[in-house]
Symmetry: C2
Subunit: 373 residues, 2 copies
Amino acid sequence: MAAMVGLGPLQPARSATAHAAGPAVPVPSMKKIKVIQFGLGPIGIESLKLAADQSWLEVTGGVDIDPAKVGRSLAELTGAAVFGAAKVHPTLEALIGAVGQPDVVLHTAGSSAAVSLAQMKPALERGISVASTCEELIFPALKTPAVAAEYDALCRRTGARIAATGVNPGFVMDVLPICLTGVSREVTSIYVERVVNASTRRQPLQAKIGSGQNPDDFRAKFAAGKAGHAGFQQSVALLAHAMGWKLDEVRETCEPVVATSRVVTRFFDVAPGQSVGIHQKCVGLCGGETRIKLDLQMYLDAPLPHDAIVIKGRPDLNLVLNGGVAGDDATVAALINIVPRLLAAAPGLRLMTELAVPGWRNPRGVENGAAAT
Amino acid sequence: MAAMVGLGPLQPARSATAHAAGPAVPVPSMKKIKVIQFGLGPIGIESLKLAADQSWLEVTGGVDIDPAKVGRSLAELTGAAVFGAAKVHPTLEALIGAVGQPDVVLHTAGSSAAVSLAQMKPALERGISVASTCEELIFPALKTPAVAAEYDALCRRTGARIAATGVNPGFVMDVLPICLTGVSREVTSIYVERVVNASTRRQPLQAKIGSGQNPDDFRAKFAAGKAGHAGFQQSVALLAHAMGWKLDEVRETCEPVVATSRVVTRFFDVAPGQSVGIHQKCVGLCGGETRIKLDLQMYLDAPLPHDAIVIKGRPDLNLVLNGGVAGDDATVAALINIVPRLLAAAPGLRLMTELAVPGWRNPRGVENGAAAT
């Protein structure tokens, strides 16, 4: 027989006293956090649907420039009755005029840091915090350092925080490897690879990776910055920043993956010789040495999807996420889960690594057995 | 040829302007953080040796009650000349009287939360923050909620922070799985297993897991709370707290692993029938359902050491750390790496999950290529 040490019932009330007041873990019975959704594309709608399930959130409205959406109710757009009379406004100012200030804006309206920051200026000026899926905002100082500094200063003045999150960039190829190095005495290099079976993903993603296109056309589009995975260089920059490596060069390449036989998905029918996806690489060099190497394969019918992290140092670390992390579902999860951590952070333009450890936020607040699913 | 998007040289100065002022990433040219080492056992000495390599730390002294150590120089005890005249004092008060206040105490002097907090009271009362390897401090409200609440209040009054870290508890079986759920829409259960080959570890660990002992003697010792892995229930409590699961029961069991043939290490020669280590389990139940299950095998010559995390939910997540995380090296790394994150946190008794994402702190500050190893 196994020796057993019984703990007996825990004392959650006292435990809550000691910890629930901590900034990263708002007390579930607290006033709900008021959020609004900025951008009502496919990801914005998914974000709203997930927000609808959160007992700790109150969604007071949405913002989109599309005249076909303005004035419509969020309940109608998402099928979630909980949204009641909340509706779509043409601008942030119009929304605030109609329903007052939210605590947080959920922003899913673009990949450019400069554009996203400009969109969010009316919120940040009012001290309203912003959680975004904007890829360049994962490390905005990479491409637009002056703009990043300006908005950081603005946020510090008004008490707002803005941070971007996601699955990639924002987690698998940057935040997760950084988290792993928390137990490192020394790190000499970081390699991350991610293989995604794009056949399981939404149509826009299959299109974005060039499915069915002529490989040369895709190459030209990538060279013009109009195709491929966005935010790769920002992942490298975030890794380098966290490791204290001042990079002298970041190199990014992208090759189409070409079909050797016909590939059929729900959305595409690709003949041999046409593109089925991408093989994108990004490396960061410090003094001529490759310190960071990211390798992303995202194509239709990719076998053995997975994420892998190899950290050389002391100790060496070798991590595999079998099956990988499904992107579409997980992106909006990352966005919602970050909200309490964002509000607990110091004002400013924040990196994911400056917020509290990521983690799931239970939609039901604190569950006891009876309330469990 | 691969299409290439050249970034050209980064602009680290502007990047630093935007981000280095953030709380989690102190500017490398800042004043060094003054630390002292409390507890000069094997882990304390390892902590000092690692601290000696950090350009951003200044070690001003050590504290130990052992009369054989008091008065000796840290340089002599560790072989690190960088410590100069810093020496061992019998108490924290004596150290402060002699060399003034440090910014942070590195505490490696015990497993009991109540004892560790009492040891650290003179520091916390003076607003000095504490990073600790104390296992129960990973979730102090589990066993000593009133004491935890009292010290949390004390820290908030004085501006001090205290938090505990480590590899296990503190990372592999709690913080890392929590971090993974940052991309989860739903989590229904968490399973973590850890297999450690104890033959590669230090003598005290081989002794602690009962190597060479009679299995029945070991069972009796575990039942009396005098053997086995410390902090297991705290890992379960931290996971449950982060997931919003109010546990109604935590069950912990430990069985000796018995040698089937002779096992020889540098420290032990174990005959068949004697213990070579432990198989310890800890589960957390919510409404009669097992939500959390931790499984730890730590024994001599354990094959295929690894850490694995299986999270059921949406999405399912399946992580393997091949080879696992070596404990001894990594524990002191976790302790040193937490220091800047601790100082950036809000005052109080803090959980690891309330601090910024873990990450390596480059001993050389910010490296360019020339300064790289």
